[in-house]
Subunit: 349 residues, 2 copies
């Protein structure tokens, strides 16, 4: 396999506005949606035009730029107050990804020191967040790949790739780096019902970089492990609690239990902005339930009998004790605990 | 919940031929396919018009009747030889369900003693197999329900119901009996990718009997267990090895590992004809791989990027040590072993 240099981006600032690759249409269509205000941006997050915690964070940062532009145009002397309604709409777009709140907070922290039109300063910060996310992912990729032995067979779930981040990806960043270092001999990806991010996004994204991938139904992962065909499970995260409990796409917890049962290593790759030190443990992370219809139908075609109900949690929580290593841009934490996670935060850069 | 008296049947002998409910079209359409010869019948099994090991067995039995009719019409003095080609086609229709071979063997054993036209004798035997399967399922239902405490919350996988058997069902038979006995407070069903038998068939079948059901993505089962919402996992089987290892729909093994991890009981309900005493252990059971396309597409709509590959095993093997009880019409075997399974076989009726 060859070195990787993915240019794929979920969110792009284009001239004077935000463009999002509409991930609901991938891989059959590659369509960018143009966004000029924060409510549109929030709706795009809610409707999953863009998804993945770090990509939601980058998108929200650009959303604040748009919000501030409108607020300043209407109320140049009181834009800080005027922008709050849009910030609240962005904050409520999805409940689990903490990076969303982190991005809003990071831009909001600049407000007090801005004189005049805030757009340029906020845009510079949003771009910096975006670029740092890519650089951090590349660094994480290198750290994560360091854990892989030669001829590693890896399994990933959902899409924690360029499409889910500023670029390069978290879990797929580790896989990209592992492939570049010639350490990965096989990549498997769960299809990841109900949204099929594995089949629709991860397979497409990896193939863009020439990385072969074999998909499987989510429930087949256990058999793959039973047959001794997986060395590492590598996933991203939407929020990590202070004790190292990991919220991520529904099915992640299942893989973690199965990996432990089969003696397979389990890695979580996520930027430090995914760690919510205000939440002590995973049980306190808000988990989004989405509409039953997402399970009862596939591609808007009704599957289940009329009258059937469905339970559709979008995320689950993997206890820290099932995680072998959390990889961040600031370093890795093996067998995470509250103390180790705090030490990572407090470590000098 | 009210007593259950499901009349639903996957296979019916109608006047002079076999009718199969086309399960590929459920629940949106209820269409019966008329079959007049064995090759058509074998194709219907291969193409999954009918599925589920006991239903395949019943269907194959009727297929032998059709085969014998044609053989006798062409070669009244040598129909036993003439029927062999059709028997071979039926035997090759699907590899994992042992009930298929059991049914062929059961009818084949009658050949030597038949004088003249074999159709009536074979049809009587096929109908007897069919009726006994229903009665056995009702008996199994009663035995299985005996294991359930009050207010049980149960999870099932795929469809091991009336649609998968002669009628009443194996796993769903236990659930029907448990509901009748007012012991079940909640039924969950995995949607069961890639064929979505849980969403398409199990939900429809249970709702026909007025049993409420909540579907979930296969990968969400672990979270449901983690939240303490499941008391029993109840599944069927396509073949059970002599040591009690259980081949069943892909994802069953995953549930068994997860159930054990969470201290949840795991029950397999299957007629004795599902036990293959010629196969010592699960690793020796042939497991069907179907086309990658079944994972790469949903309802013939391509999901995954062109170039992506998929691994699509239809079944997996759950080791006996993860099974709390196997329920058959002849009795239940707790913590199955080779000796206990042999004792069940040898037990006087």
């Amino acid at each position: 396999m060859n070195p990787i240099n993915s240019k794929l981006q979920a969110a792009v600032w284009q001239d004077d506005h935000l463009q999002l690759l509409d991930q609901r249409l991938l891989p059959s269509e590659q369509v960018y949606i143009d966004l000029y205000d924060a409510p549109q941006t929030a709706l795009a997050i809610t409707d999953m035009v863009v998804r993945g915690a770090p990509a939601i964070g980058v998108t929200a940062a650009y959303g604040v730029v748009l919000a501030a532009r409108h607020a300043y145009a209407k109320h140049p002397d009181a834009w800080r107050d005027a922008v709050q309604a849009d910030m609240a709409i962005l904050a409520a777009a999805r409940p689990t990804a903490i990076n969303l709140h982190w991005a809003l907070q990071t831009l909001g922290d600049l407000f007090a020191d801005i004189d005049g039109n805030p757009e340029a300063i906020l845009l510079a910060k949003a771009k910096q967040i975006h670029e740092k996310d890519i650089a951090d992912n590349q660094h994480m990729g290198s750290i994560g790949a360091g854990y892989l032995a030669e001829n590693c067979r890896v399994l990933t779930h959902c899409n924690a790739g360029a499409l889910a981040t500023g670029g390069y990806g978290t879990a797929l960043g580790v896989i990209r780096s592992g492939v570049s270092a010639d350490k990965i001999s096989k990549v498997y990806a769960d299809e990841t019902r109900p949204w099929l991010q594995g089949a629709r996004l991860t397979a497409w994204e990896l193939l863009q970089d020439g990385i072969p991938v074999t998909l499987l139904a989510d429930s087949a992962a256990a058999r793959l492990m039973q047959q001794g065909k997986i060395d590492w499970v590598i996933v991203g995260s939407d929020r990590i609690a202070a004790n190292g409990d990991v919220a991520n796409k529904i099915g992640t917890y299942s893989l973690a239990v199965l990996a432990r049962y089969h003696g397979i290593k389990f890695m979580v790759a996520a930027p430090l902005s995914t760690v919510d030190y205000n939440v002590a443990r995973g049980d306190d992370i808000p988990i989004e339930d989405r509409a039953a219809e997402e399970v009862l139908s596939v591609f808007e075609q009704r599957v289940a009998a009329q009258g059937a109900d469905a339970w559709n949690p979008v995320f689950d929580v993997t206890p820290a004790e099932l995680v072998d290593v959390i990889v961040t841009e600031k370093g890795a934490v093996e067998n995470p605990t509250t103390a180790k996670m705090a030490a990572l935060r407090d470590k000098p850069v």
